[in-house]
Assembly symmetry: C2
Homo-oligomer: 337 residues x 2
DNA sequence: CTTGGCACTCTACCGGCGAGAGTGCCAGGC
DNA sequence: GCCTGGCACTCTCGCCGGTAGAGTGCCAAG
């Protein structure tokens, strides 16, 4: 009984604070959340909650505000999933349905997530290393220059111009294309190194130097370097309450660092469930005042990740529901193309 | 003499205000800018400048602040080009030199511009309609699905998956590729419609329905719809002085609208010279408190545009120099690839 | 364990005050 | 006719003290 009500009080504090952005006092709770006890009783509970580190008061004689630890408890035990409305589901479907290519899917998803959650949205492009090669194209630009184009099953198209040591004939280029496709098509890119390793040896001698060059390019720039990309949107939502972000700057700065974003999205140990990082739990310096809700998408959730970044004072149930829903749709979209 | 000194006073006001972000008074000007006259004289000039609408005082007994009109006069007549330092030039070269593909060039440019000017940078991708087709690739994904990949001389790669009414054989796909390339390669995309118009008629009958479908896709989605793209960076610079932007929000919102950005960059009547739009001159609602410095890049400056967005209180000479320099380098990079 | 009462503390708000900055105007000098 | 020093005026900003209100902690009683 005792413990239970204390948790109920914590929930009330989190919900009210999220809604109003003002420290919440014992009186409000006793009145608005019909717990059937007096403010004084609530005060006792609050005092205990404060001792345990779930809430703090900004100053004496202000109401209480949840700590990161308080939010954590709320997210783990107190929040109930808030299913999206039918209208929202339809909106998602309609919005994402019109996408014409991968870029479009990603951009629309970002926008959608930002609108649904009124927060900053981040969507990672399908990870190259976890995609499989659908086709490799070798385009003969000039006698000794070719463009390599690699298309994955997730719709990513990566290309590089390669300067060759010697001029090639058109039919040699055709051979190269056939060779590369035989080795790579249908295989995950993470296997590319293995798949190509013995290629120069197996090929006709006159092709060997060229093949070696192409191999290097494929492995170095296509696979390793250009690996990951992310799209960002809804940064304007950072300004909705200037109060939340004493300093918006570090947040914007952190968000501009692709590497940082990738770290945030990528680190999920289990990509199948929504992951919530709250305030100080966050590995990135500039984002210690924010919370991040993220999940993987695609078959097995392993293709890429997406999520939202917002103030710790955030509507967790709503964000979790939105992130999960969008991830499901994005996964479907990419699977069917 | 009289007019001349008045302009000198205006210059001093603009420069000091840009540097300090505080209204500048007659005493400061007389002292720091060794005009050889007393504060009282400066006051007379300032009074005249105010009557003419070049400066205002935020309140009685504060210094003067330039108006949009004042900045305009400064930019048009008073500012001298501020050449970049050798170190800055080297930095540009080094920074952009490492780019591996178009995406990389654009992203690096955005970042570079943002760093150089400490403002928000915007770079448009090379406009499709002003690029020429380098190669069209038709990839046979499954019996009745192909992927169209179009590569331009500016390095853009656009692709679409197309569902066909009937299954195709591999050699037919090869024929299609040859046909399309014969018609399109080397021609500007703006001519694509004309170049393809009689294609179905000229082709073997059994290819006609397929060709018609492909034509439609090329013209509709590749040429018209996916036309323009922009990259954005340095938004964190918006927060450098919260004072400048009573409301950052509308600015961020406007910047997230690709359409708006394109309008800003695209409207240049003469893309060969730097264009400066100051405050209220700006066509976009949310950006009335900002200035925009932009220019075209590429051969004839007609390939695309880039620029920076910042407070009207901005270092115009520096921004103009940076924008111009980056545009030149980007033009070179794209020309040589 | 809960509750009402009560004293305590701290913030936010307001009005008044003085210092400082910058101006406009004027009369005198070159 | 233009420049200059002087002077009174005005307005902002920061500081102070007092007050109202909110919220708490504690205590004694139910």
């Amino acid at each position: 009984m005792l413990e239970e009500r204390k948790l109920e009080v914590l929930r009330a504090i989190v919900e009210d604070f999220v809604a109003t952005n003002e420290p919440v006092g014992s009186k409000h709770i006793a009145e608005r959340h019909h717990l059937g006890v007096s403010p004084a009783t609530v005060r006792n509970d609050m005092s205990a909650l404060e001792d345990e580190g779930y809430i703090v008061q900004p100053h004496t004689s202000a109401g209480r505000v949840p700590t990161d630890k308080g939010y954590r408890l709320f997210v783990d035990q107190l929040s109930t999933v808030k299913p999206l409305s039918a209208a929202e589901r339809r909106a998602i479907e309609r919005f994402l349905g019109g996408a014409v290519d991968l870029d479009d899917v990603v951009r629309r998803s970002v926008r959608l997530l930002a609108q649904l959650t009124r927060q900053v949205a981040v969507v990672q492009y399908p990870s190259l290393s976890r995609s499989t090669v659908r086709h490799v194209e070798v385009v003969h630009l000039s006698p000794n220059r070719v463009m390599l184009v690699m298309i994955t099953d997730t719709g990513r198209v990566e290309q590089r111009v390669v300067e060759l040591q010697m001029p090639l004939k058109d039919d040699v280029v055709t051979d190269l294309r056939t060779l590369l496709n035989m080795r790579l098509a249908g295989r995950p890119l993470s296997d590319a190194a293995a798949a190509l390793s013995d290629l120069p040896d197996a090929a006709p001698p006159q092709l060997r130097p060229v093949l070696t060059t192409l191999m290097t390019v494929i492995l170095e720039t296509l696979v390793e370097k250009a690996e990951e990309r992310v799209a960002l949107g809804g940064t304007a939502n950072l300004t909705q309450n200037a109060l939340d972000f004493p300093l918006i700057r570090p947040v914007l700065e952190a968000l501009e660092e692709q590497v940082v974003l990738l770290k945030l999205l990528g680190e999920a140990n289990d990509p199948t469930t929504v992951r919530v990082r709250i305030g100080e739990e966050n590995p990135v310096e500039g984002l210690r005042s924010t919370s991040i809700v993220s999940i993987g998408y695609g078959p097995g959730q392993g293709i890429g990740s997406l999520g939202v970044v917002g103030p710790t004072r955030m509507d967790y149930p709503g964000s979790i529901a939105a992130v999960r829903a969008v991830a499901r749709y994005v996964g479907e979209m990419l699977g069917s193309s």
